[in-house]
Symmetry: C2
């Protein structure tokens, strides 16, 4: 039995790793898949490998016949599309869902689309080290959380169609307000990115005096610096569309770090150990919960 | 051809992952290996698996006949041994090397040992997710940096013997003053640990309001929180014997993070992108350098 998700004409806008993987995963549920991307080579690759049936660089032509449209572009490109002309291109009752990493700005803009468009915000919590259409993977979404955020254009039917799409991907739906989503990913995703970047800058600063830091850096630094190498354009979009939540999480982080430092410098080893212990326990509890699924 | 390292009687004090792996790696270079550990079960395991030839819980008996002694205990245990009676147990000309993660305090104490003991500080930059004698691995040190820090009891002969021991392990020696070592590992190892712990505490704080953070946390958080789960006793020893350098690196880190935050909040996207770009480049350069070896 399938999830009940079907599309007559599915259009995926943006054929990177995420968009390409969506097209692959939904292959059997859509009669026809159109891919929209600004890069001809990307479209050519997707056509050649049977990821899509039709290709165009023109947004209007790509979406005007679709009954399901997924926006899989970077956050600001999504905002520009939704606040631009896409509303006038889409047919009534088209399901419009995006997979941008921040949700408040996108969902707000979706609320201004013409009545009749079934718009809902989405954010799948998945990814890969490699990017681009060549890395597409039909299993990328399987078992992973997929957040859904309602907009002023989300009807009960919109919600059910989006849930069945998530089921077809094999993902696990989490429904929440956009504000709550952005606050949560500020803590678990955007704050870690800034910490990783600031750590690398700190080591780089030390490296100006003593190159040995780069020679001696090992596995701990490797893990902690990985996020600093993420795609810059993607991260810039994310940070600038979630500045308030990120600033809040930075304030909370500073508080926790200051506490650890104060206990270390004042040599209050008992309280320092207790705080480090609670961090250790929280991490181990999360890992067990994660593995238990 | 070997490295030229030989021992008539090698004693390894502390049979955890690091000590057990040392014994395994040096098996062919020593006529006899004695293991000293406070835990009978650990000694039993090491004997049964041929990692050592003799076992004792008594430090004096373990080291008094040795010509090479490696201290592979936690930092404070090493300091206690070196500042305690070990000097009176050791024979003259014994090579004494430790593998503690901070070096200033240990090397200072080594400087007070009786003249004639050939003492030098060491710190191999290696490890594993798993710990304990059961995880011992003869290849653990191969290709990894092994720092050597001179003490007041380091003679030219001490240095050469330690270098040949490192060669026998297949590790790569880096000679530097203890102070410089502690400053460098403060940046690449101890600071990252504190950041990881403070990040987990921040997410935990958010989790008190919204459990969704734990549901949605993915690969980025997994990597950034791994260090927070490290062995607490080991980390407490490290932090409390390297407080000055850690405080310095924390101050530098705060400066870098504040810079990123100021550019984000003031919406100076160009400078923000430039700074994030330099972090990304530094990380990628380090990875290339690491892989090029």
């Amino acid at each position: 039995m399938g999830s009940g998700f079907t599309a007559r004409h599915l259009t995926v806008v943006g054929l990177g790793l995420m968009g390409g993987s969506l097209a692959l995963a939904l292959r059997g549920t859509a009669e026809m898949i159109t891919g929209v991307d600004p890069h001809e080579e990307t479209l050519g690759y997707a056509l050649k490998h049977g990821i899509i049936d039709h290709a165009t660089t023109d947004l209007k032509r790509g979406v005007e016949e679709a009954d399901v449209v997924i926006l899989a572009a970077p956050v600001r490109a999504i905002i520009n599309m939704v606040s631009g002309r896409i509303g006038s291109y889409l047919r009534s009752n088209t399901l419009l869902i995006d997979i941008g990493s921040t949700k408040v700005d996108i969902c707000t803009q979706m609320g201004h689309l013409p009545i009749g468009i079934q718009a809902i915000g989405g954010h799948p919590m998945t990814g890969k080290e490699s990017s681009g259409i060549e890395s597409s993977d039909a299993g990328l979404y399987r078992g992973r959380p997929f957040v859904l955020c309602p907009t002023r254009r989300t009807t009960p039917a919109t919600r059910l169609r989006a849930l069945s799409l998530i089921e077809a991907l094999g993902a696990v739906p989490f429904e929440m307000e956009a504000q709550r989503h952005d606050q949560a990913v500020g803590a678990i995703s955007h704050l870690p990115y800034l910490l990783s970047a600031a750590l690398v800058l700190t080591v780089n600063y030390e490296g100006e005096t003593d190159d040995a830091v780069w020679e001696l850096a090992a596995g701990g630094f490797r893990d902690m610096s990985r996020l600093a190498a993420q795609d810059l354009n993607m991260m810039k979009d994310i940070l600038t569309t979630n500045t308030q939540a990120v600033a809040t999480q930075l304030a909370h982080f500073r508080m926790q770090l200051a506490m650890l430092e104060a206990l270390l410098i004042s040599k209050d080893e008992k309280k320092l150990a207790a705080l480090l212990h609670s961090a250790r326990e929280a991490r181990l509890t999360w890992m067990r919960r994660r593995e238990g699924k």
